[in-house]
Symmetry: none
Subunit: 284 residues, 2 copies
DNA sequence: TATTAAATGTAATGAAAATTTCAATGTCAA
DNA sequence: TTGACATTGAAATTTTCATTACATTTAATA
């Protein structure tokens, strides 16, 4: 239950000092409760012990837990209302429509976690063809990593997608040179094998690890040179990786544009090598 | 000035540890910065001193002042009647921002190509566990198909992802019963092998083909029972599959919600079977 | 490869914050 | 008026937190 609601409910049983606290808190909710216990005490002309008693009456084990609750409430209000907000939104209330709305929200919010600057740095690394690039993702996120792999392979050389089975990794790891790149995609339900891999790659082989993860940060972060933390919550029980895909596509596009002739030449040559049951039709 | 803006501005002069901190903070802004200095340090795999140095670089006399600034920002935003999120959403016109803008547009436009009605029909088919489901995508679009495969496999039985090599297909095709489902994802640079497969599956084996393609329609359409034509042009030289991913995720979510107990039970059992080097940490 | 400078974490320190104890104060009923 | 009880804050205590100093590691350059 909401702290505010709880206070209103319990208001009967409060002592005078507690009522002071309650009204101070409610009048500047929840920020009054985010100060230190003593400045809150001072402001309300009560004392720290009174506050301790007050919050424990509210069922918190201490002032800190109380503050955590307030913060969590704020956080929730800020993160969830994607859907609640847009009852004022345009038309269409079908499932698909609503879902798409949220997905597109996740996409735009990517920029909250990745600055243009960081984007540039990553771009720089991925474009440097003196470095090998190794990629891998988690069970559910590997498709994202694969998208990057496949496109990157069209653009540059020395791109290797790691197989899912750790047994086979050594074979790849031996090929890793210092300063090579590891791109790891790992979203919640983090997988230990990935952080193990990151550790090996970074510590033993001197590779740079670029991590794409969510705001709870995969343990891979420990070994990562760049952490791109992007939103994956779409408000449903299931996460959305649309943001991740958008980021990856942005990287691909940027790397390709970085050196345009080289890319077209490469893709051209590559097209020529396709067996002719390959493309059927390319133009509208 | 806003802490967020300041961080983006000063990004150049940051050390690696500071960058980690910056991206962790930005991805869960401003709440990541409201924890105690040590839990923030732990979460980002840096150390408390690094944070102290980081915030002092930001012009704060200490961690506490830094927190005060964050809280004051929250407060201000809260009290101004405008959108709660406005402030958190960085504006700007860097490459990434512009790209994301377009991607999110592609996502919302999916509903132009797929009606709620069609969505329902497809949903129905995918939920029907008396039908086998086979999936495959093109060279670049297979990751989309894989996303669907992998999630679907958590939800229901009899899901088979087709290998890319046509040589192996007969083995699968023999297993196809009449009224089974084929999900094929094929975007421009259509591949002949896919339409061959569609033909075999539909005409010879009596399967229903569900096609996810773009507005120029893959030749697979000829054999498809449902054609979902979605936007893939993001305005760059490269296509964006974000719309496709969003659609696929919507399907997954809807199928899962269709029969919720069955799904949780299935996922639960499935979790229990994971070797314990599986998940590492799941909570924030 | 050796040398230097920068970056980073460990551990020690000092500061402050929160909690507990306890005595003082006020309130109410007998 | 007095005694029992509840409320309260001062002071002491304990805990937690942030910072500083320093040693180690890492990266950069010659």
């Amino acid at each position: 239950m909401n702290v505010r609601e709880q206070i209103e409910e319990m208001a009967e049983g409060f002592t005078p000092a507690e009522r002071k606290l309650a009204s101070a808190l409610l009048s500047d909710y929840p920020f009054a409760g985010l100060e230190t216990i003593q400045s809150f005490a001072e402001k309300t002309h009560t004392s720290a012990p009174s506050i301790t008693r007050f919050v424990s009456k509210l069922g918190c084990s201490g002032y800190q837990e109380f503050q955590r609750r307030l913060i969590d409430e704020l956080k929730e209000r800020k993160h969830s209302p994607v859907d609640l907000r847009d009852d004022a939104m345009p038309v269409g209330d079908g499932f698909l429509r609503r879902f798409l709305e949220r997905s597109s929200d996740v996409v735009t919010r990517v920029s909250e976690g990745v600055t243009e600057d960081q984007f540039e740095r990553v771009l720089e690394l991925l474009s440097d063809d003196k470095r090998n690039v190794f990629l891998i993702g988690g069970r559910m996120s590997d498709p994202i990593a694969q998208t990057l792999s496949r496109h990157l392979r069209q653009i540059r050389r020395d791109v290797y997608h790691m197989p899912p089975d750790p047994e086979i990794w050594p074979e790849y790891l031996l090929r890793v040179r210092s300063r090579d790149i590891f791109v790891i995609v790992d979203f919640r339900r983090y997988e230990k094998r990935l952080s193990d891999l990151a550790e090996l790659a970074a510590e033993k082989r001197g590779a740079r690890v670029l991590l794409i993860t969510d705001k709870w940060l995969s343990p891979v972060a420990e070994h990562a040179a760049e952490v791109m933390a992007i939103p994956i919550e779409s408000g449903t029980a299931w996460d959305s990786y649309c943001g991740a895909l958008a980021l990856v596509e942005a990287l691909i596009t940027a790397v390709a544009e970085q050196d345009w002739e080289a890319t077209t030449k490469r893709i051209g040559g590559w097209e020529a090598l396709r067996p002719n049951y390959g493309a059927v039709d390319d133009e509208s």
